[in-house]
């Protein structure tokens, strides 16, 4: 892999002036990956990151200001929560979570910045191409990533991610603080469920599909898939299309 496809995001406040950004000039310029400048790493919607992967990125790097220095006070913390959720989603999608890195830099310290970039680039080179860019099951990975992307748009998951700081560091509406481990468990479960549902949704949009077919396709127990179908019907994500023999087929609805 000569040129890994890496998308870098760097915040306006941590970017050393020497670093070129914004010109979509490919991956040639210093420091060898394409950097997109944003006001804050907290601005990177998880959907954007997953979109980059869907479009074939081998790695995504996010560089922001270290903890107390965020120009927007909490943008970096928010970015951390989002990256945590994203890594779970990537893992679910079968993409190594290390392909996403959130790191910190100072605008005055070009050297460290370049080092972060170089290290990440080397890491990606060592990891090889995104499974999307080759291999037999690239279609599967694409489906997974698209499901992950849709999951990242899901209201519930985004509420949880958005409120993670409040709930684990400040307090809930009952004046309780949720231990970070408990929160992670809740959010992990939700992430997994939503991911599976969105995957089913994508499959059911392609063509009407049965519980058994789905189960085979996503390698889950049919009873579990049925539970998801029930929930998805409740939310209007799928509907019964027809019953073939004894097999109900479900089709995905556009949401």
């Amino acid at each position: 892999m000569l040129r890994p496809k890496i998308i870098g995001f760097v915040c306006n406040w941590s970017k050393p002036p020497e670093i070129q950004t914004s010109e979509p000039s490919g991956f040639e310029g210093h420091p060898k990956i394409h950097m997109i400048q944003v006001m804050c790493v907290g601005r990177i919607d998880p959907v954007i990151v997953l979109d980059a992967f869907v479009r074939g990125a081998d790695g995504v790097l996010m560089v922001g200001c270290p903890s107390p220095d965020c120009h927007y006070v909490e943008g970096n913390t928010q970015a951390k929560f989002k990256v945590k959720m994203l890594k779970k989603l990537l893992a679910l999608a079968g993409i190594k979570p290390d392909r996403l890195l959130l790191d910190w830099a100072h605008m005055t310290d070009v050297e460290s910045f370049v080092k972060i970039v170089d290290n990440f680039r080397n890491l990606i080179i060592a990891m090889g191409q995104s499974p999307l860019n080759g291999g037999d099951s690239s279609d599967d990975f694409l489906l997974n990533l698209r499901a992950a992307k849709n999951t990242a748009s899901d209201f519930r998951l985004r509420v949880l991610t958005g409120r993670e700081g409040e709930l684990t560091q400040a307090e809930s509406v009952y004046g309780e603080t949720i231990p970070a481990n408990d929160f992670d468990r809740i959010s992990e479960l939700l992430t997994r469920m939503e991911f599976i549902r969105h995957k089913i949704h994508l499959l059911a949009i392609q063509e009407p599909v049965s519980v058994k077919q789905l189960a085979e396709r996503i390698k889950e127990k049919p009873s579990f898939v049925l539970c998801q179908i029930v929930e998805m019907r409740r939310r209007g994500m799928v509907t019964l299309d027809e019953i073939k023999g004894t097999t109900p087929l479900y089709k995905g609805l556009e949401v």
């Binding site: 209201f155 519930r156 998951l157 509420v159 949880l160 409120r163 409040e166 709930l167 307090e171 809930s172 509406v173 009952y174 309780e176 949720i178 929160f183 809740i186 939700l190 469920m193 049965s210 519980v211 058994k212 189960a215 049919p222 009873s223 898939v225 049925l226 539970c227 179908i229 029930v230 929930e231 019907r233 409740r234 019964l240 019953i243 023999g245 004894t246 097999t247 109900p248 556009e254």
Partner: protein
């Protein structure tokens, strides 16, 4: 003696509690209806359909739920539990704890946005865990009160619900509260719990996904349930082709200390099998494994027969010993013995018909209330006081006193209501508030001036429909003089505002464009009425349920549709006329036809409540059928009770007893009947407000089995008399069940004969244990706690032998020697016995006078000749005809306690009328334009309520609507060839205008 209190607490908001509450509240008592869950409805709300009519459960329950929720005299106390009880009958102090909902019930308007946005999922207990719900939820969409509740266990406290709640109803800091109330009496209706099928581990429930309980299967079958009403296998979502129902799971099972029958499972099992077949697109084999089919209720056997004949459901009399699963297919192997042959059979799915058990809190309730429970922890009642607990002033109804089905629960509930009001009859009307309205404005001379109020419903509507655009559109419509948008049009402050606007703009029609009139019309009509307008000058456009919620992704189209709906309703509103709600006077007197135990009980209950009663008995004696009952299965003394009852009736100054008399003629309508009572002493005319039919039934006179031709063949009634008199001696007795019942001509079960047979067999065994007693039966229907006597009889050596219609027993007489030939299915041999006596369990026949009475009262009979109530499930003692009620054996065969329940129930239902000086009828009724009427009588024939009579005036005959009888369906108006008759508020002109305006743009003149 402490002062009495005119209010009642009803504990448990299932169908029984609801019925009791409505009866009490409608009779002038304040009711506190307390339920441990967050909404009322109980188990019935979970059911898909109901037997034997296959009515949609929710469809028939929902109106009662709404009526309860809206009743000014009923306070709902949900999510609450009892803590303490002090005081005595007439004056109790009840302390209860209301658990925090974390939602302000005053503010929550049930829009449901919170639930939709809640990030936490939990198992939906209403759907028996087959689907998910959010941590903030209502149990079901039609829940009453429609107030959300936070599942604190699951809630993580993210605050999203509070943020999205536009009504600001979320109250995270809400605390549990303890309250003490004074009430005069108490009704316990806490219902039952389904048996935990995990206990029967051999059946694999909880281990094998395709083994489900019957209550889960109800949800599976329900259109609003997890699978959208399609029967599916939980293991893989496939439609099953072969379905097994296993009866008596947790019932009739001494091994697990459940020696009672749950009474309803056979019927619901059959029902579920029938409905399942209807709910799948493929041929579905349904097999029901049972011990006895207990279809002992009214018209149940007919249903059972249809299940076999019409639906091809296979019935296997066998107890399934064990179930294993094929791990590959998740199919199930059932091991059972059929005709002594061990058999294995594979099924796709198994439904366990789980029995009823007392609610978990039964012991706690018993402690708090100081009431006795029976050995099974059901509430202890007695044969002659079936709604009384052991504590005076505390009554019971529903499955808490014994397992029972819905109509029996409802009847018992009304019965309990009667008893509960009797003891505080003097306080009637004292705890309730009557509402005053301003005088009604005459708008007949005014041009229509319409005000349109468009609801945002938080963002439920405005999130999709452009409310400002709609308001703007509405205000430009002809006759609309005012329009505005409200955040929540239903909120309390908006009601005040609507009234202001009516005054300010001199509005004479009001339209609210918001949600469904089914839940909100009454509220707005009330508002309109409070501002001096006739309540029928109000209309609604449902732009939420019909626009914003169902066209979420088409805001433009939804907005256009909302406009069309409003234009359409405005067109109707222009034509709206004030309607009068007919008011009729009520004669506070009852007429009870029949002086048996039911009639006497009903009469006594009415009298106890302070109403005069005319009790008409055809024979010379009060007592009826009860006179022939010498002892009961439960060991009580019927004669003692009869004597006391008769004395009470005769000594009661309010009861006028007419013996040897007959009601010859009944005229008039609810509240205002005039009847003629004929007796030897002549004819007497009485006025009364209600009629209670308690004409009873008779023992069938067999023509079978040599009855009447051989002296040794007697009926159970005759046997009882002989046993009582000590005149019975025999070495061998054969009892034959179902004589004259469950035949082609009389397809239904006579209900009481199995009990009678067991009772008499036990009596024989008691007096002469060496006497052989054989009972030849089709199914032993010792339902409920009678099961225990069945077991006792069997243990005493009574031999029960099953027969079926293909091989009926044969009785012959060989020179005075009786011979009974029958097939013994276990040893598979024909057996001949030579008993001394053959006892025929003769069916129950309707009273021969029923037909005359039915015609006189214009009330229907069943095919069997019993009276047909208004609704088999929810109105068991009402007739379609208002003011006429039914109880006892006239309704269908039943035991004494059941008759007493029904009699009390009829009294309670009657008192909802008699307790009122006047009745206000619904204003939406038919109206005849006599000029147009051609007197063709089509309407008269079509009216299902006989509410139209023909009046002859000098020159012509015209139709006339009996306001008190009309229910407002409008069928008459549709059929009238001259359009002379129409339905108020849905006039032809109004609907035509509505149709036209829905389709065609209008511009302001």
């Amino acid at each position: 003696m402490a002062e009495k209190i005119g209010s009642v607490m009803v504990v448990g908001g299932g169908v029984a509690g609801i019925q009791a509450s409505l009866d009490l509240a409608d009779s002038g008592f304040k009711v506190y209806l307390l339920d441990k869950s967050s909404s009322i409805g109980g188990v019935m709300a979970e059911l898909d359909k109901t037997f034997p009519t296959n009515d949609c459960s929710m469809c028939i329950l929902a109106p009662k739920l709404v009526a309860t929720g809206r009743h000014p005299n009923i306070s709902l106390i949900t999510n609450a539990e009892l803590v303490d009880l002090k005081g005595q009958a007439g004056n109790f102090l009840v302390k209860f704890r209301k658990r925090s909902r974390y939602v302000d019930e005053e503010r929550c308007n049930g829009c449901g946005l919170c639930s939709q946005k809640c990030p936490v999922e939990a198992l939906d207990t209403f759907n028996e865990g087959l689907s998910n719900r959010s941590a903030i939820y209502v149990e079901y969409p039609q829940a009453v009160p429609l107030k959300y509740i936070i599942d604190r266990e699951k809630c993580i406290g993210c605050g999203t619900c509070e943020e999205v709640c536009k009504a600001k109803a979320i109250a995270y800091d809400q605390q549990d509260t303890e309250t003490t109330l004074s009430v005069g009496s108490i009704i316990l209706a806490p219902g039952f719990e389904p048996f935990d099928a995990r206990v029967k581990s051999e059946l694999g429930y909880g281990k094998f996904p395709n083994v489900v309980t019957s209550i889960e299967f109800e949800r599976i079958l329900s259109a609003s349930g997890p699978y959208g009403g399609l029967a599916l296998r939980p293991s893989d979502g496939e439609v099953p082709r072969k379905l097994a129902f296993i009866q008596c799971v947790g019932s009739r099972d001494a091994q697990i200390n459940r020696d009672y029958c749950s009474a309803a499972c056979c019927m619901y099992g059959i029902k579920e099998a029938i409905i399942a077949k209807e709910h799948v697109p493929v041929a579905l084999d349904c097999t029901l494994f049972y011990m006895d089919i207990r279809a002992h209720g009214k018209e149940f056997d007919a249903y059972y027969n249809r299940a076999q004949d019409e639906f091809g459901i296979r019935f296997v009399r066998s107890r399934v010993a064990n179930i294993t699963e094929d791990p590959k297919t998740n199919n199930l192997h059932l091991y059972y013995v059929e005709e002594e042959e061990p058999t294995t059979e594979e099924f796709d799915m198994v439904v366990l018909s789980v029995g009823m058990q007392p609610p978990a809190e039964a012991s706690k309730l018993a402690n708090i209330f100081g009431i006795e429970l029976n050995g099974q922890k059901f509430c202890q009642t007695r044969m002659f006081s079936p709604v009384e607990t052991s504590r005076p002033g505390v009554f019971v109804c529903g499955a808490f006193s014994s397992p029972k089905d819905i109509p029996e629960s409802v009847a018992q509930a009304s019965g309990a209501a009667a008893k509960a009001m009797s003891i505080i009859a003097s306080e009637r009307g004292k705890e309730i508030v009557a509402k005053e309205y301003p005088p009604e404005r005459d708008v007949s001379q005014e041009e229509p001036r319409i005000g349109v109020f468009v609801c945002h419903c938080g963002i439920n509507i405005s999130g999709t429909v452009s409310v400002p655009e709609v308001v703007d559109f509405a205000t430009k419509l002809p006759s609309v003089v005012y329009g505005e948008a409200n955040l929540y049009t239903c909120s309390q402050d908006t009601q005040g505002m609507i009234k202001e606007k009516i005054q300010e703009h001199n509005l004479n029609r009001v339209i609210v464009a918001s949600c469904t009139p089914r839940t909100h019309e009454a509220l707005f009509r009330e508002t309109v009425r409070e501002s001096g307008l006739n309540p029928y000058l109000f209309e609604m456009a449902n732009i939420r349920d019909q626009c914003s919620w169902v066209h979420v992704h088409q805001p433009k189209e939804a907005t256009e549709k909302a406009k069309d709906l409003i234009r359409s309703v405005v067109a109707k509103a222009r034509l709206l006329k004030p309607l009068r709600r007919p008011v009729i006077n009520v004669t506070p007197t009852g007429l009870v036809i029949g002086g048996g135990v039911s009639g006497m009980t009903a009469a006594l209950e009415l009298a106890n409540q302070g109403f005069d009663v005319h009790l008409v008995e055809r024979t010379k004696n009060l007592g009826g059928h009860l006179r022939e009952i010498r002892y009961t299965l439960e060991g009580e003394n019927p004669r003692e009770h009869l004597d006391s009852l008769v004395t009470q009736v005769l000594e009661n100054g309010r009861i006028h007893v007419y013996l040897d008399s007959e009601v010859a003629e009944v005229n008039g309508f609810v509240g205002n009947f005039k009847s003629k009572i004929n007796s030897e002493s002549g004819e007497k005319e009485v006025e009364h407000g209600v009629v209670i039919v308690a004409t009873g039934a008779k023992e069938y006179v067999p023509t079978e089995y040599l009855y009447g031709n051989a002296p040794g063949v007697v009926t159970q009634r005759e046997l009882e008399e002989m046993l009582f008199n000590g005149a019975f001696k025999a070495e061998s007795v054969v009892m034959i069940q179902c004589v004259g019942a469950r035949t082609r001509e009389r397809p239904n079960c006579a209900r009481i004969c199995c009990g009678q047979a067991i009772k008499n067999a036990l009596r024989i065994k008691e007096t002469s244990p060496e006497t052989d007693v054989y009972v030849l039966y089709k199914d032993v229907r010792s339902y409920g706690f009678k099961e225990k006597y069945y077991r006792k009889a069997a243990s005493k050596g009574v031999i029960f032998v099953n027969y079926n219609d293909d091989r009926k027993p044969e009785v012959s007489s060989d020179g005075g020697k009786l011979k009974v030939l029958f097939w013994e299915p276990i040893i598979k041999e024909e057996i001949t016995l030579e008993p001394d006596t053959v006892v025929l369990s003769a069916a129950v026949s309707p009273n021969p006078d029923s037909k005359r009475v039915s015609e006189m009262l214009k009330v229907p009979l069943t095919k069997d000749g019993f009276f047909l109530e208004a609704h088999m499930k929810l109105r068991p003692v009402d007739f379609q005809t208002d003011g006429v009620f039914l109880c006892g054996m006239a309704h269908s065969p039943k035991f004494i306690d059941e008759s007493i329940c029904q009699a009390c129930a009829a009294a309670a239902r009657a008192s909802t009328i008699l307790s009122k000086k006047t009745l206000e009828m619904e204003g939406i009724i038919a109206d005849v334009d006599e000029d147009l009427c051609s007197g063709c009588r089509i309407c008269e024939h079509l009216c299902p309520y006989s509410a139209i009579e023909m009046n002859e005036k000098q020159t012509k005959v015209t139709a006339h609507v009996l306001e008190a009888l009309c229910k407002g369906c409008g069928v008459c108006g549709t059929a009238c060839p001259t359009k002379a008759i129409t339905l108020g508020h849905f006039t032809t002109g109004e609907i035509l205008a509505q149709v036209k305006a829905a389709l065609v743009e209008e511009v302001r003149a």
